[in-house]
Symmetry: C2
Subunit: 233 residues, 2 copies
């Protein structure tokens, strides 16, 4: 039901057409898989629809039977990964004990296992305003927003000193922190050897520990300030 025997860099032409609905779903998934593969071995800037199609063993036009635009492919990958991350967060927020460092570590581990996520997340906003139908963009934002709300409640249960609404705010700030810190701290591939220069030593830091620390600081500060305000009342 699927192509086979990749020749060197990309899969051979597909032999079978996706006629049944489930086969179409599979094909769509195969394109997304190819996209992930491509994203992992080259920067987003060189992600071309033609390369994607060839890697999936299809012609360029076929990709457009399953996705509206190049950006919709990327947004789909991103949406899936974002949901994965929320799953991880949900599990980490489950135990009755509030251990911020443990939560942060779970997130960091997940990011490491899915290196394609952060580059996509970083360009998500500009993707949403370029070449994505407004409906698709809204659907994406709603999905993320719903999940955030739900997790925000969990956070407030786990950290009872927080006021109503601060859970979501904290999650959004954390997401932002993760996104932004990566952009500064993780050097692009082309600059890797330049990182040996003495002037670049400021940026020679471990993203993982840096993020873990910052997250713990942020959450610590938030609960602390909430407690203070509660005491004043």
């Amino acid at each position: 039901m699927v192509s086979e025997s990749a020749t060197e860099k990309h899969a051979a032409r597909v032999r079978h057409r996706a006629t049944a609905p489930e086969a179409k779903i599979e094909r769509r998934a195969a394109i997304l898989d190819a996209a992930v593969g491509l994203l992992r071995e080259a920067p987003l800037g060189v992600f071309s629809v033609d390369a994607l199609a060839r890697r999936a063993g299809l012609a360029k036009g076929t990709v457009y039977l399953y996705f509206g635009t190049r950006e919709e492919v990327l947004l789909s990958v991103h949406a899936e990964r974002a949901q994965n991350l929320f799953d991880v967060l949900e599990r980490a927020l489950a135990p009755p004990k509030a251990d911020t460092a443990r939560i942060a570590r779970a997130v960091v581990r997940h990011l490491r296992e899915h290196p394609e996520f952060l580059p996509l997340a970083a360009t998500c906003r500009s993707m949403l305003e370029t070449n994505i139908s407004v409906e698709t963009a809204i659907a994406f934002k709603c999905a993320v927003g719903g999940r955030l709300l739900q997790l925000g409640v969990r956070v407030e249960q786990l950290y009872p000193r927080l006021e109503r609404g601060q859970g979501v705010a904290l999650l959004m700030a954390s997401y932002g922190l993760m996104l932004g810190l990566w952009q500064i701290a993780e050097p692009p591939k082309c600059l890797e050897e330049a990182m040996l220069l003495p002037e670049m030593r400021v940026f020679k830091l471990d993203f993982d520990t840096q993020l873990t620390n910052a997250l713990v600081n942020l959450w610590e500060g938030a609960t602390r300030r909430a407690a203070q305000k509660a005491r004043q009342k």
Copy 2:
């Protein structure tokens, strides 16, 4: 020594050539000005070199006499704005009293006055790895890095409980927070009316107060944890 009388949307053709070195510097600055103008009225995705050239009253080819690539223009604008932001931060860090909320407000005010900065900052990393010479990229990173180091020391002076190196770390995390939070919290123009939908209410928050809060939380958490660690020793 300069063009004049813009016709409707863009400046008229230049009449005088930039022969003297200072005139060349002026012309380069004029191109950057045009770039800022363009960035303020349309999203980055539609920023074309041709539009930039026309707005500056030049032909496309002329832009390439002053900049190597489209991305170098954008990086130049970004670098200038980043230095501006560091200037603001330096002034805010000057007074002897450590008032985190005041510092955060100064940053937020600056961001509001220079709306072109955050979109550029958000795509900075992908610009550095696409279409920018490695030398230019290194020069940019070194400039930012040097300034960060210097300001990090200031932070540590102002918050004496911080350990050596934590000042820079805090600044980088703050920069990341600002960048990342904006990407989630500030909806693209094309989604503005969609923000009225009830499902989108999670994202209906004021970026300014959100960022101010998160920054204060982060800094509060960092100093608090540093103090704790010092006490344990």
